[in-house]
């Protein structure tokens, strides 16, 4: 092939240099005050805000403190408006859930001008961690080959699957209860659900607490499902929104726990019995699955 | 029978014959123009390359005429479809005229 005479190439613009990767985040004012429990621990850093573990009023009472820092890119008026609006929306939803008996963290304090929301620290571990631990223990216990299938799915009726099936049922009930209360979560994943060990002497808000299970709760998938992080939640009872909630959870579950994907039907079965229009929502879920949430787009 | 149905439902017919200097160019035009489907179900279209009508006896590079037959349910549909075809045809011919390899080579040689 002949090589063409090269014309003067257009020079691309200079790419920017990466800014310092060790960027220090300013703490909200409340966390700059003294604390006998020691400095707050940064738990997660999402796009919306940062979650700290700190103490509330006394050093022994742990607290989840969510900070929505002001965004330097936003116009200050818009930033203040949004931060305030979102904090207030989140607290109203949390309070509505609590009044309706949906297990969510209790509110401790709100400072909407600083974008700070302090909540009860939910003990236990995220469903994601619990399920993965369960699957790991199962793989250790039954180190049989998977026959080259590359995947070793948990069957519903297999030996030892009962705790996981039970957990899935409680997840379905928790989501149903949430929807029944008129709340759509907006970001349901197994990271946004905690397994709170059953408390001694306390009836569960949801689930099937059998007596005497408290001691063995750890690592047994036993516990109450507590839904957390209502940063993207909204109030509403549209079947479509509820179905999208389930769809997001289904997708998240499938990608996070592919080996337990088949058990997701248990979540939906339990959900179906939680409130009157749940079957309609499940029908809608089929439509949402078909179109894959996203619309086909015109160019 | 089928042809009769076709004539019944698509009574408005127009045939365009486009003679090209070479069979190659006629074939290029055919390839470029026949890909896009006619969007309206009220219009049918066929493309063929053959000698010009009434010139069937000549031999050699005779297959250099593009025959396009448009059939439509109404004259209006026919006009819209043929107009659109003519616009595309015009573009194809213009590209041939100014961008064919020999044209570019001749220009490169003369400069």
């Amino acid at each position: 092939m002949a090589t063409p005479e090269p014309a003067a190439a257009i020079q691309p613009p200079t790419p920017p240099a990466d800014s310092a990767s060790t960027h220090e985040f300013p703490l909200p004012p409340i966390l700059q005050q003294p604390s006998a429990a020691g400095p707050a621990e940064l738990i997660t850093q999402g796009a919306e805000g940062r979650l700290y573990r700190t103490s509330w009023l006394t050093p022994t009472r742990p607290c989840a403190l969510k900070h929505r820092p002001s965004k330097p890119y936003r116009h200050p008026t818009l930033d203040a408006r949004l931060t305030r609006h979102r904090i207030l929306s989140e607290v109203r939803i949390l309070q509505k859930c609590r009044r309706e008996g949906v297990a969510v963290p209790a509110l401790y304090g709100i400072d909407e001008s600083q974008g700070v929301l302090s909540m009860e620290w939910v003990p236990g571990r995220p469903v994601r961690v619990e399920v993965n631990e369960f699957l790991r223990r199962r793989a250790e216990k039954y180190p049989h080959s998977d026959g080259g299938r590359g995947r070793d799915e948990v069957a519903r009726d297999e030996e030892g699957a009962a705790p996981l099936v039970g957990l899935m049922r409680r997840i379905g009930e928790a989501v149903g209860k949430l929807h029944k209360a008129g709340i759509v979560h907006g970001d349901l994943t197994t990271s946004n659900m905690m397994v709170r060990p059953w408390e001694k002497d306390k009836g569960p808000v949801n689930g099937h607490h059998a007596d005497g299970q408290a001691e063995e709760a750890e690592h047994s998938l036993e516990g109450e499902i507590v839904v957390i992080d209502f940063g993207l939640a909204s109030q509403g009872s549209a079947d479509e929104d509820r179905a999208v909630d389930l769809y997001v959870l289904e997708r998240a579950f499938g990608s996070t726990h592919p080996r337990a994907e088949a058990l997701f039907t248990v979540v939906l079965e339990a959900y179906k019995d939680t409130f009157k229009v749940a079957p309609v929502v499940l029908k809608k879920l089929e439509d949402v699955r078909m179109r894959g949430r996203k619309r086909s787009m015109l160019g | 029978m089928a042809a009769a149905m076709e004539t019944d439902q698509f009574p408005c017919v127009l045939t365009v014959q486009v003679p090209f200097p070479t069979a190659r160019l006629a074939s290029v035009a055919l390839q470029s123009l026949q890909v896009d489907k006619e969007l309206s179900p009220l219009v049918r279209r066929t493309f063929t390359i053959s000698p010009p009508a009434g010139d069937a006896n000549t031999t050699g590079d005779q297959d250099k005429t593009l025959h396009v037959e448009y059939r439509a349910t109404t004259n209006r549909m026919l006009r819209v479809a043929v107009n659109s075809f003519m616009e595309s045809l015009n573009l194809v011919i213009e590209v041939m005229e100014h961008l064919d390899a020999d044209v570019l080579a001749a220009e490169a040689h003369s400069t």
């Binding site: 063409p4 090269p6 240099a17 990466d18 999402g46 160019g299 | 100014h98």
Partner: protein
């Protein structure tokens, strides 16, 4: 192995762009040899119609293509090029088809392979090449598209997108409301008007006094990873109508009501940009947090906007990363982006047979198998 050359033809909207690009698969070096563009601008207050835009592309194809060849120094494209790349979609049907007809003719004349290219993938590959961003979260914003994209397993996956109209469409239509000219493009002119919100000019036009722009009341519509612009456009149009009422009232010697905010074109344009760009930055940040990326690449015509780039930069800085943006030569629809994405596909063996070389108005970014990326 010598570098490979491709001609790219883009005509999915009101720009006809043709260019020549080279890529050397052994060294993975890319070179732009020419990048020619001709834009169809409709008069102020109007948008471009598919029929007129297609006629524009047909009228200018030959001259633009010849200029692209001349600037690249190609005299024997049949031997010099590997393939002819054209935009398969998404975009407006008639303009897409007119460009495809011409591209097919070139491929047939020169005996070359045809490669149909996804317009969005073209933008992404061009942006990656120009900025050197290896694996960024991509914000693709134009008159027809608004998507937040991240690469995973040989697909460009859409994390968030508009639920109704594209952000560029929102800005362009608002420019029409205010009779802001379409030349060179409406978004650019809106940006210039917005900049004027930062100062007042004395009546004799000799002195400028700095002022704080007024953020007017427009809705903010982010829903999870997605956003919506039609409600904002509607609210901005209402504000513009209110402004015209104020204009008439003041011209007639009247006075505004006590406490009524005087609405100006400058503050309106400023506010529209502040609100819609904040939404875009927010959904981009969400995607970055989700995939753990620190790089963000902005592509598409709206990506030229300096305020958007600045806001994106502030966000990226807070995440310890940076924003990669290009200028109007590469951001705005062009032929070389189609040439580059097409050539990369061609190198992996991809061809578009003639009989399948159609166009499609709907063509999702995540439908394309990105075979040339193995990361």
């Amino acid at each position: 192995m010598a570098p490979l050359y491709a001609l790219g033809c883009e005509g999915s909207a009101n720009k006809l762009g043709i260019g020549v690009i080279s890529h050397d698969p052994t060294t993975n070096t890319t070179r732009i040899l020419s990048n020619v563009r001709h834009t169809f601008n409709s008069p102020p207050g109007t948008g471009f119609l598919p029929k007129d835009t297609a006629a524009h592309h047909r009228a200018h194809f030959v001259s633009v293509a010849r200029e692209a060849l001349r600037a690249a120094g190609l005299t024997d494209p049949a031997r010099e090029l590997s393939c002819i790349c054209y935009t398969r979609g998404p975009g407006m049907g008639a303009p897409l088809t007119s460009t495809a007809v011409a591209a097919r003719t070139l491929a047939a004349l020169w005996g070359l392979d045809l490669v149909g290219v996804n317009h969005c993938v073209g933008h992404i590959e061009m942006g990656r090449f120009i900025t050197g961003a290896a694996n960024p979260v991509v914000l693709y914003v134009s008159g027809g598209n608004t998507q937040v994209i991240a690469y995973a397993e040989q697909r460009y996956r859409i994390f968030g997108e508009t639920l109704d109209i594209a952000v560029g469409n929102c800005i362009d239509r608002f420019a029409r409301t205010l009779q802001i000219p379409n030349d060179p493009f409406p978004g650019y002119n809106v940006e210039q008007v917005a900049k004027k919100a930062f100062y007042t000019v004395a009546a004799d036009r000799t002195t400028k006094t700095p002022r704080d722009p007024v953020l007017l009341d427009l809705p903010y519509a982010v829903k999870g990873m997605d956003c919506s612009f039609s409600g904002i456009l509607g609210a901005a149009d209402l504000q513009a109508a209110q402004m015209q009422k104020q204009d008439a009232l003041l011209a007639a010697g009247g006075a505004l009501k006590e406490g009524e905010q005087r609405i100006t074109r400058e503050d309106l344009c400023f506010t529209l940009q502040e609100v819609v760009f904040a939404m875009l930055v927010e959904i981009t940040e969400r995607a970055m947090a989700h995939v753990g990326s620190k790089q963000v690449l902005v592509v598409g015509g709206v990506g030229c906007n300096e305020r958007l780039q600045e806001m994106m930069g502030l966000m990226a800085r807070d995440r310890g990363g940076s924003v990669y943006a290009t200028d109007e030569r590469f951001c705005i629809d062009n032929g070389i982006m189609i040439g580059l994405a097409g050539l990369l596909a061609w190198e992996t063996g991809f061809r578009t047979p003639f009989e399948e070389s159609t166009c499609t108005q709907r063509f999702r970014t995540d439908e394309v198998h990105i075979k040339w990326r193995t990361d």
